[in-house]
């Protein structure tokens, strides 16, 4: 398989942070591919490296203390890690756009919402002011901002949380990117607003045909949105596959535990919740073996010595666990 067949191909990506307390192994040797128009969900708990992996693709890792120490990121056949800063600036926003968790801190409070969207259009698409403004209003309409022609001159604080996130999405879409990376875009929002945003992204994706990487800790959102899922733990992908496979037939003890710790959604009230004992590891210093082993009740001595590789258990479904054949749903 050559690199040009996929929209995005991440190969052996590793990112570390060199801090006073030691080296943080944030992302460790992750590889996956994403096709045009596809939707990938990346799930995991705080500190599992899901956001750092996305920032690595965008080359937005603050250096120092952070550094991409290895790997390749092919986007349409070009290795993003080999591009010049200038070359990368042309990709960012224009071909790959990213939206963030907190729309308040990612918008500039002293510039109007309209100006911030126009800025990208004038920079990347070379539009003049009048055309950029018209396109901005069009975009705000597209993402469902009411009275867009008036609201374009509002400042971010005049928007509600949901509207700010819509404005961020409008900004992300402004240059018709072929990949949108959404980093927990609905975590700060209420459920009814979250439903609006998820729905919006789904509709826009169908309309515009872009690929989406949706990063979240919410397994419900992923079930609704994604076609494939990467489950991350301690900087690694520990299970990956089609969404129905992951939810219906999970084979990594962590994925199984995570799904089991959610309250049941059937009509019957759930009994006691399954809980994974212990806490996620901190990523300073890298211990040998599987990072989940200390919390895992399938643990065998080998788990503490050797890191399990991702192995295919059914078409497209890979799991990194030495005891994967014994793992059962809870």
């Amino acid at each position: 398989m050559t690199s040009t067949e996929h929209l995005l191909e991440v190969k052996h990506l590793s990112t570390r942070f060199y801090t006073e307390d030691g080296v943080v192994y944030a992302v460790n040797d992750i590889s996956y591919t994403l096709d045009e128009g596809d939707t990938l969900g990346v799930v995991g708990e705080s500190g599992c490296g899901k956001s750092v992996h996305a920032l690595s693709i965008m080359r937005l890792i603050p250096t120092p203390p952070g550094k991409i120490v290895g790997g390749e990121i092919y986007f349409r056949g070009r290795d993003l890690l080999k591009l010049s800063d200038e070359g990368m600036r042309k990709v960012r926003g224009a071909e790959i756009a990213m939206i963030f968790q907190d729309p308040m801190t990612s918008l500039n409070p002293v510039k109007t919402v309209g100006f911030q969207i126009m800025e990208a259009l004038m920079l990347h698409e070379g539009m003049d002011k009048a055309r950029a403004r018209a396109r901005t209003i069009e975009l705000l309409n597209l993402v469902g901002i009411p009275e867009a022609a008036q609201r374009v001159d509002d400042y971010p604080h005049q928007f509600s949380g949901g509207m700010r996130q819509r404005a961020m999405i409008a900004m992300g879409l402004s240059c018709n990117p072929s990949l949108l990376i959404a980093d927990e875009p609905t975590t700060a929002l209420d459920v009814t607003i979250q439903a609006q945003i998820v729905d919006l992204v789904k509709r826009l994706q169908e309309k515009l045909g872009m690929a989406v990487i949706w990063i979240t800790h919410d397994l419900g959102v992923v079930a609704r949105l994604a076609r494939r899922v990467n489950v991350m733990y301690a900087g690694r992908i520990i299970e990956s596959g089609p969404v129905k496979e992951i939810y219906g037939n999970p084979h990594h003890p962590y994925t199984v535990g995570l799904l089991g710790s959610l309250p049941s959604h059937g009509t019957r009230a759930a009994a006691r919740l399954f809980s994974i004992p212990g806490e996620p590891p901190d990523l300073i210093g890298l211990l040998p073996g599987c990072a989940f082993a200390p919390r895992c009740h399938y643990q065998v001595p080998r788990c503490l010595q050797e890191t399990p590789p991702l192995e295919e258990i059914s078409p497209g479904h890979v799991v990194a666990c030495w005891e994967k054949d014994k793992v059962r749903r809870v």
Binding site: V198, H265, A269, I276, E279
Partner: protein
């Protein structure tokens, strides 16, 4: 039938909230003229029975946290009664209230902000005992050790400071502190929202174990409806300062009557892609109105998919439409 009567007789009202209001004044100008009110809690009534968990759900700004805080008189109520074990808390003098607070405790959302970083775990958990002069130094140490064990922490950790613990462990410390005075009622204000999924289940299981062991009563405030469903016996749904629906857990989730409850339940994504593929959702338009300028008539009328003229004119009454099932909507009629 006999079974139903028995459970009915067992129900003792521990807390009764009647017409509770909390308005925060909006003041403007040099003279701080009173120009309006944020109606954070606007005429809320409900009972909490001994030994049960009442879930209080709603989106941000719906007044659920303010309700909890007003019950315990962190905020002074604007109007209404809070009757705890037969006494109206709103009328108690400060020192009487202090005595009463021994039986009602609160745990908070942010496990980082709710513990003093300069105090050791021993002092944090033991402080309530000191405030009420309940133990000498030796007894205090013993009691703290017991409490830490109760919440699943190693008693040897009592000399440590909050920064040495993870979020889940800090939430356990907060819980140990709230248990120090043997309370009867604990108001849990979003106790798991700041925690990771795998840790949430640990804390919820702990809350359930403690309830069983110590006979505690909980008011569980949260925006996560699936967790509220798991832990609660009854659930009250709030919208813009009012309770729109209140009933037992199973009827609420199986048969939600208020259009807002229906929309809220349908908005929660279900962690099952097979269900999600075919599930129809009610997507609400627009945002929550400001509680400083609530709409005329029904508070939900600006976003309700079933809105009619009367909704924009008259406020619907909060009525019992089926035994124990309360709802405030013009189009939900009592079942004969």
């Amino acid at each position: 039938m006999a079974e139903a009567l028995r459970t009915e007789a067992k129900k003792e009202v521990l807390l009764r909230v009647e017409g509770l209001k909390k308005y925060f004044p909006i003041k403007r100008g040099l003279l701080q003229r009173h120009v309006g009110d944020v109606k954070a809690v606007d005429d809320v009534s409900f009972n909490v029975y001994r030994g049960e968990t009442l879930g209080l759900v709603g989106e941000s700004g719906c007044g659920k946290t303010t309700t909890g805080r007003t019950i315990i008189r962190i905020y002074e109520p604007t109007a209404g009664q809070v009757i705890f074990k037969g006494q109206d808390l709103a009328k108690l003098r400060p020192n009487e209230m202090r005595e009463m607070r021994r039986s009602m405790q609160m745990i908070f959302q942010d496990p980082y902000a709710s513990l003093n970083p300069r105090m050791s775990v021993l002092n944090i958990v033991g402080e309530p005992l000191e405030v009420y002069h309940l133990a000498n130094k030796e007894e205090r140490r013993e009691r703290v050790a017991t409490l830490l064990q109760l919440v699943g922490l190693n008693p040897d950790f009592m000399t440590r400071y909050p920064h040495e613990f993870s979020g889940g462990q800090r939430q356990r410390i907060g819980l140990a502190r709230s248990l120090a005075l043997n309370p009867e009622l604990i108001i849990c204000d979003e106790p798991i929202s700041a925690l990771d999924v795998s840790i949430q289940a640990q804390v919820v299981n702990l809350l359930e174990d403690l309830q069983e062991e110590l006979g505690l009563t909980y008011i569980f405030i949260a925006h996560d409806l699936s967790m509220v469903r798991h832990i609660s016996d009854r659930v009250a749904v709030m919208y813009l300062g009012k309770i729109v629906e209140l009933t037992d857990r199973d009827s609420l989730y199986a048969n939600p009557l208020h259009p807002y409850t229906q929309a809220l339940l349908s908005a929660i994504p279900v962690p099952d892609p097979v269900i999600e593929e075919t599930r129809q959702r009610i997507i609400l338009e627009g945002d929550l109105p400001s509680p400083a300028h609530p709409p005329k008539g029904c508070n939900f009328s600006t976003r309700c998919p079933q809105v009619r003229d009367i909704c924009e004119q008259e406020e619907p009454a909060f009525i019992e439409v089926a035994p124990g099932h309360y709802c405030a909507c013009h189009f939900v009629k009592p079942m004969a």
